[in-house]
Symmetry: C2
Subunit: 217 residues, 2 copies
DNA sequence: AGGTTTCGATTGACAAGTCAGTCAATCATT
DNA sequence: AATGATTGACTGACTTGTCAATCGAAACCT
């Protein structure tokens, strides 16, 4: 124990408020819950929330930005490796799915409450979200230059389709439309990459034709 | 003209309120706008909104259900045809994209305020949304039985990836992350189907292996 | 060691404002 | 006159953000 007894360290209180916010936001949604709910859940006085955060919005901002920035860093890091585009995309899918596995409430809040309010909040969030698409698109572009991915599919589109597919999986888990267990998490990672890359990669035959009729090679 | 002059037909007023609601919901979001905003936009008195609708939520419910049911019918109709799975999925993508082209405000409201907030409303919406996934999954299953789609990818997962990719395109247009013009709408339809089916269909070679090495068949 | 000052952390009652929903009255049409 | 549509002021409930007061720990002094 470090600074225990009657009062805990300031940063613990701040973190306790953030943790409590994740729980109540996930439970009833950002709009439906009150600042007093956060304070009650964290076991602190109402006013303390305003001591650490400028507003209720600011609490949500902090939750989103802290997590999103970790993801942006992760994407940049992965892209810097020598792995194939497929492996890079698998790493991203893994990261997002594992984020959900590790803290489903936080991911629920980010997907349900932040994305929804992305336009009513400042443009800040929108810019960060867009940045993620851009970095994924950069991976696709790299693969296109190397001839591994079809060049005729716009990289920006592909990135959004990829991210959209992943987000829909999480949505399925969040709203209990899909079974959410360890096995399905792993299957989801593989499915998303297999589905998207199977369509993006230039395979030996069948460039995108509907029928599986083999041509004269 | 039928019942014109000083007072228009009741159903016109009701529709005027719905149309106004779409506009104000799209502009500032469902939660951020007041019932008085709807009434003002529609040019009717505050109380009239409550004459036609039981609550503010009920207005949103109506907007969502009326449109969503049209889509559900459309999917069932398409699935009953003899078209290939790829053509069926293209028809669905077309319908959704065209819905956005025809009434972007309404689609924005449905995606931003309903689809992503489905848990805060009753289970009614969730069930309708799930029904859409189920119908798309049925198309995938049909293709799997016919040997046109890979059997090892869960149909439910595939359906969600497909819908998620489309919804992400709309999100891109809604938040002005993607160029929204006629040409891009058409490209988006093709991209989504090409991306998803390219990965789902059993092509002559490369069953899902990363490398395009041809096996001895 | 004991007393005291300082200052950020913490409290919770309160002011000020918001908004959904109600309802009694009015209007138009038949 | 009867019926249903329409009005908009009003109520009641609820919320955010403020703020003056209090607390606790450490530094500072004697």
């Amino acid at each position: 124990m470090s600074a225990v007894r009657t009062r805990s360290a300031p940063q613990d209180r701040r973190q306790a408020i953030l943790d409590a916010a994740v729980r109540v936001f996930a439970r009833r949604g950002f709009h439906a819950c009150r600042v007093s709910d956060i304070a009650d859940e964290a076991g602190v006085a109402y006013g303390l929330v305003y001591h650490y955060f400028g507003s209720k919005d600011s609490v949500l901002d902090t939750l989103f930005l802290e997590r999103w920035n970790v993801m942006l860093d992760m994407i940049a890091e992965v892209d810097a490796t020598e792995a194939s585009a497929r492996e890079k995309l698998y790493a991203i899918a893994s990261f997002i799915v594992d984020s959900y596995r590790h803290d489903p409430d936080l991911m629920k809040v980010i997907i349900v409450d932040v994305t929804r309010a992305a336009n009513s909040f400042g443009q800040t969030h929108l810019a960060r979200i867009r940045e993620a698409y851009r970095r994924i698109a950069a991976i696709v572009e790299g693969a296109q230059r190397q001839g591994a991915f079809k060049a005729e599919i716009d990289a920006e589109f592909a990135a959004m389709a990829f991210y959209g597919a992943i987000e829909q999986m999480l949505t399925g888990w969040i709203f209990e439309m899909l079974p959410a267990d360890e096995e399905h998490y792993e299957r989801a990672k593989r499915l998303v990459v297999e589905t998207i890359c199977g369509g993006l990669e230039i395979s030996g035959a069948s460039h995108g034709r509907r029928d599986a009729d083999r041509d004269g090679d």
